[in-house]
Symmetry: C2
Subunit: 194 residues, 2 copies
Amino acid sequence: MDVGPRIRALRMERGLSLSELARLAGVGKATLSGLENGLRNPTLETLYAITAQLGVPLTAVLSAPEQTPTVRGATVGATLLEVFHDRDATYELYRMRVDPGPAQLSPAHQTGVTEHVTVFAGVLRAGPVDAPLTAGPGGYLRWAADVPHSYATVGEEQVRASLLLRYPRPSGGDDRHIPGMQADDISFRRPGNA
Amino acid sequence: MDVGPRIRALRMERGLSLSELARLAGVGKATLSGLENGLRNPTLETLYAITAQLGVPLTAVLSAPEQTPTVRGATVGATLLEVFHDRDATYELYRMRVDPGPAQLSPAHQTGVTEHVTVFAGVLRAGPVDAPLTAGPGGYLRWAADVPHSYATVGEEQVRASLLLRYPRPSGGDDRHIPGMQADDISFRRPGNA
DNA sequence: CTCTGGTGTTCCGTTTACGGAACGGGACCG
DNA sequence: CGGTCCCGTTCCGTAAACGGAACACCAGAG
């Protein structure tokens, strides 16, 4: 939630001095300085004026820290994940690459979480450690993610897939649908290949 | 940037009264009330206390207003957009549905922004208003989005597509690749159908 | 009807984020 | 050396976001 370092990094990237950015954004130098150093608690208005001038949305400086696990590549040949997440925090979309080698393990998530994987390339064997599933290109897997689970390639080909992490609905709690968005919508399945 | 309505909606979803949420979040009722009604310009600290209590990340209530056009269903048969966005704010992914009828218009975005559309179903005619492009199922379109552009169906079938909004790289500025993510990765194209 | 317990809004004194100006510190030049 | 021109930080009066209390309103109970 401390946006200071991020703001400063973005400003530096653009080769702007503090004075310049303050002038461009129409905020006081004192404000920007204090903000970058974490000495102030900016209002949305102030923060927006600055991020808009930097050309990034507010969300760029507000990483949701504990909400996005982001298990990015721990060891060599490990899985590599890229992150999307929706605004209601009910699901997160990852790009996954699994390289040949020992299986990648993922700890149990909170109860109610489900994982949906659609394979693009390669053959993936993934799911609960005691009952993994297998899918090839175009294939689709799904499992409850409240137990430890694993990902591994079958054969020597790298696997490319999408991974959808579904969190239980904040209210209600049924798992039937995401409002305005069907699971199929992001399953990357070939059209006409139900 | 007016987070009020979103906060109120989230609170309602959870069946919380204003007084309850204010107490849970440790903020004054006056603050929450004024905030929901857009009469105040909250600090990050205040906003975070509330969103944390609602169980959503800050980003859930901060739709980047003019950065995400989000032309959600203005008129009957209008386009409907669903949002993803990455954490580096270099691209945003939408699901798009275009219903038959008059073309949907979108104003120019900031310079350097490109749009990439991949059609799932139906036939789409979209692009700069003076030079639209056409694509059917599996087809792919791309154009610079710094001019007004439009979306329309060809024929009476509803169009379903993905829309990728690419913002210019903060540093560098070339359009060659998204770090760790190739355009192809999210093009929804059929594998083996370059 | 009155009373009680809840809602959300408004009043108001306190706290604090705000921007302009003043400041200290280098880099460069004469 | 002094003078100039940037940088980023600190000072300080003003504007505004803050929380607590008072308020108007409504629903149900007695």
